[in-house]
């Protein structure tokens, strides 16, 4: 119920409506609950409404941190193997 997904805005329509691609399908959702968005922005969409902006810079920082952890452990001689897929 409270699940939301990140979506890239592909078109800005009138009355706070925008378009984005969710799972390969073009969807229309409302941006009435967040400040102005433009094409290319990432937003977090829940039940037809964008409820927040996705901060791409912060997302990249988090992902880089995961990379660093893996690199660091490998250097220390840990064998990192995928244990689930």
């Amino acid at each position: 119920m409270c699940l939301a997904i990140p979506v890239r805005v592909t078109a800005v329509l009138r009355d706070d409506w925008v378009e984005g691609v969710i799972g390969g399908i073009h969807c229309k959702f409302s941006c009435a609950l967040i400040e102005q968005v433009s094409i290319g922005d990432y937003v977090i969409v829940h039940a037809g409404f964008a409820i927040a902006r996705l901060d791409v810079e912060e997302a990249e920082i988090t992902l880089a941190l995961f990379d660093d952890i893996a690199t660091h452990l490998r250097e220390q001689g840990h064998a990192i193997s995928p244990s689930f897929s």
């Binding site: 119920m1 039940a47 037809g48 409404f49 409820i51 941190l65 952890i69 893996a70 995928p82 244990s83």
Partner: protein
């Protein structure tokens, strides 16, 4: 989608698992409650528990709006559908939730009531516009993620002067539920449930921010880490909690920095506070009456309040005696502890709400751990 798949990377998960294993203190246990049902399902779906050391235990919390909607209020919604001119619009999650006398919205529809499913609150407004001769009622449920959308359509309804639209408001607030768990006798006195720290819900927090959790961290001395719903998010949050517990800290930390800020979504908060106010008290399924835990429509939007328009009065209702959902919601029992789990109560013919919802703990156990249970028994 980069910002989905990248947070499911198996290599990074292994690295995080190594990191956690290297830092846990083998002489103690870590009991971490994931408040939100979305986390429960992510944990099962990706097998996160199996990647954690044996002394890190995940306790499932009450954060499933479908599971906590009280029986009397669900019964009242079904009664509404019996009024000849009413069209009830509901999120799909609610359709199969068992009410009293084995009723549900889906069964009411099968008997001829006009019950429709909506993917977005906006759909309810569209239906009301398309059917001016029907009384369209939106059955609004959910935590802070869905509340702003309901508030928004109420504002639109007023702007468009819709005469045939109203909302049956059942919105609830997260902090009150967390507090009720921490205040419950099972946690405070009896020691039946041990919770050392909380994995906080990120999507709710995009709206309310990380600030409201500071009170619990301080007052109850439990660390809170707000975490995203992808497996790497959950694992990083576990690592952050383990670190805090090892150091004896009880702070609010934010793992979901890509969406959650300290103050949250101010615009959505303003929309919500224009339309809603706190109810003095609300009954929760499994948790009982909780003070200031739900929202009601403010007097200036009263004409759109279904409770006012239809004079809805809830009547006390009795839960199925065998169903252990109330204990499961509070983390006292696990689904396999329930005698009807997987036998009488299954996702196809659910007895309790935890088995229906895509976020319920019983549904998660049934879907992901059912084979293991069958082999064990």
């Amino acid at each position: 989608m980069r910002y989905l798949q990248a947070f499911r990377n198996p290599k990074a998960a292994s690295a995080l698992a190594e990191l956690i294993a290297g830092e846990v203190n083998s002489r103690r246990d870590y009991y971490l409650m994931e408040f939100c049902g979305g986390h429960t399902h992510a944990i099962f779906h990706y097998g996160v528990q199996d990647l954690l050391p044996k002394n890190v235990h995940l306790v499932h919390g009450p954060g499933c709006p479908v599971c906590v909607l009280s029986l009397p209020r669900l019964n009242a919604a079904i009664e509404l559908t019996q009024i000849p001119n009413v069209t009830l619009v509901s999120y799909g999650d609610m359709m199969r939730v068992p009410a009293s006398r084995r009723q549900s919205l889906l069964k009411a529809r099968a008997r001829g009531a006009d019950v429709r499913m909506a993917l977005s609150a906006m759909d309810a407004l569209d239906i009301a516009t398309q059917l001016p001769y029907r009384e369209v009622v939106f059955f609004a449920i959910g935590f802070e993620t869905t509340t702003p959308a309901t508030a928004h359509i109420l504002m639109l309804a007023q702007k468009r002067r819709l005469k045939n639209f109203s909302v049956y408001c059942n919105h609830v607030v997260t902090p009150a539920a967390v507090q009720s768990i921490l205040d419950s006798p099972e946690v405070r006195e009896l020691g039946q449930v041990r919770i050392d720290g909380f994995i906080g819900p990120s999507h709710v927090s995009t709206v309310i921010g990380s600030q409201p959790y500071e009170y619990f961290a301080e007052e109850y001395q439990r660390p809170v880490v707000i975490a995203g719903f992808e497996p790497l998010d959950v694992m990083q949050a576990v690592h952050m909690l383990v670190r805090q517990l090892n150091a004896g800290h009880a702070r609010v930390e934010n793992q979901f920095t890509r969406g959650v800020t300290y103050a949250g979504n101010k615009k959505a908060q303003a929309i919500v506070s224009d339309v809603f106010e706190l109810r003095r008290s609300l009954e929760w399924r499994g948790l009982g009456e909780l003070p200031y835990s739900g929202l009601q429509i403010k007097p200036k939007y009263r004409e759109f309040d279904a409770e006012h328009r239809f004079g809805i009065k809830t009547k006390p209702a009795v839960e199925n005696a065998a169903c252990q959902c109330p204990s499961i919601i509070r983390g006292i029992k696990k689904p396999p502890d329930c005698t009807i789990f997987g036998t009488v109560c299954t996702p196809r013919s659910p007895i309790g709400s935890c088995m229906v919802s895509s976020e319920g703990a019983c549904a998660a156990y049934y879907k992901y751990r059912h084979d293991a249970l069958a082999v064990a028994s």
